[in-house]
Amino acid sequence: MAAGAPREAQYRLTRQHLVRYAGASGDFNPIHTSDRAAAARGLPGVLAHGMLTMALVGRMLTDTAGGDPAAVTEVTARFSGPVVVPDTDEGVVVSMTATLAGPAGGGADGTAAVTVAATVDEVPVLTRAGGRIRVPADAAADAPADAVSHNDANPPAAGRTP
């Protein structure tokens, strides 16, 4: 992937994904599953776990690194805006754009910075998001520069369709 060529993806999140993530991660904070709990906290609705949104940043970095999760050396995000997940089939769509900064092959330590923008309805939900990946020197040759994936198949899946 050439430096500066952004990779875009859209991830659909439904309540089902939040329940699944709660179980997988061990984070059972009820604001991620219960309307009553969210309302009691004055929240606009049930929220996606910040770490689920950040996991999608991790997927963007993995994809930018040619599909190798082991090549992701750092993931970072500030949870600046809530990702409200209504209890509908449609849920919410998080749009992400990853931009690789620096040369293929990376810097002195072989890693390169990636910045990731994440929005819902064009409103940013993360700031300072991104990380670092190890970039193979020939990465530019085999990664599409304009890859766009749409994870909005039915059933909607941030998780794999069984």
């Binding site: 770490m51 950040m54 999608l56 999760p69 082991a70 750092e74 993931v75 970072t76 995000a77 994870n151």
Partner: protein
């Protein structure tokens, strides 16, 4: 760990929370990174990379077992936060219940990926605790340490020592807001 019972008004006493600054806790149980837990996590986040699911693919890529997605590290990292909060993720009577926590920022830096079969010791240090209004902002560093090395360190001995640093598989920096805390009062005695 914070020792306090939730007050009748549902607000938390800031004193014991602010007093956490500088404290290091080591989770007593070693975290065993399990293949099925990695697969479960990968499915939950929609990560389909073969090395996260298929042992043969992982081993062909030079790994001992299936590879954890990079944010999987939050699972053992939250074990440290659970201990610091007196059970936010594991107990109904936690000193700081999960409902009082808002995750503000997270960074996960990997020396190498976590893979199935790893055994890591979780050591969490509260770098800073700032009381602002009805919130205490905690900044926490968590080290995931290779157990064979960490096993030589007793609880409380872990610090920024160089020998410990070489065993750090992943280092996390977490900013978490504890909400619903009583506002500073003139006679609050915050320093306690």
């Amino acid at each position: 760990m914070v020792a306090q019972a939730p007050a009748a008004d549902g607000q938390l006493d800031p004193g014991p929370i602010v007093a956490m600054a500088g404290r290091t806790v080591v989770v007593p149980d070693v975290y065993e990174v399990a293949a099925e837990k990695i697969r479960e996590f990968a499915v939950a986040i929609g990560e389909t990379a073969a090395v996260c699911h298929d042992v043969a693919a992982a081993q062909a890529a030079g790994h001992r077992g299936v590879v954890a997605p990079p944010t999987f590290a939050i699972v053992p990292v939250f074990r440290g936060l659970d201990l610091l909060t007196g059970g936010a993720f594991s107990r109904d009577d936690a000193a700081i219940p999960a409902a009082h926590l808002i995750h503000g920022e997270q960074r996960l830096t990997h020396r190498r990926p976590l893979v199935a079969g790893d055994r890591v010791r979780v050591a969490a240090t509260v770098l800073d605790a700032r009381h602002v209004g009805t919130t205490v902002v905690l900044t926490i560093r968590t080290d995931l340490l290779d157990d064979p090395v960490a096993g030589t360190l007793g609880a409380g001995q872990h610090d920024t020592a160089a020998d410990a640093d070489t065993s750090v598989v992943c280092q996390a920096r977490t900013v978490v807001m504890v909400t619903g805390v009583r506002e500073p009062a003139a006679a609050d005695g915050d320093a306690g």
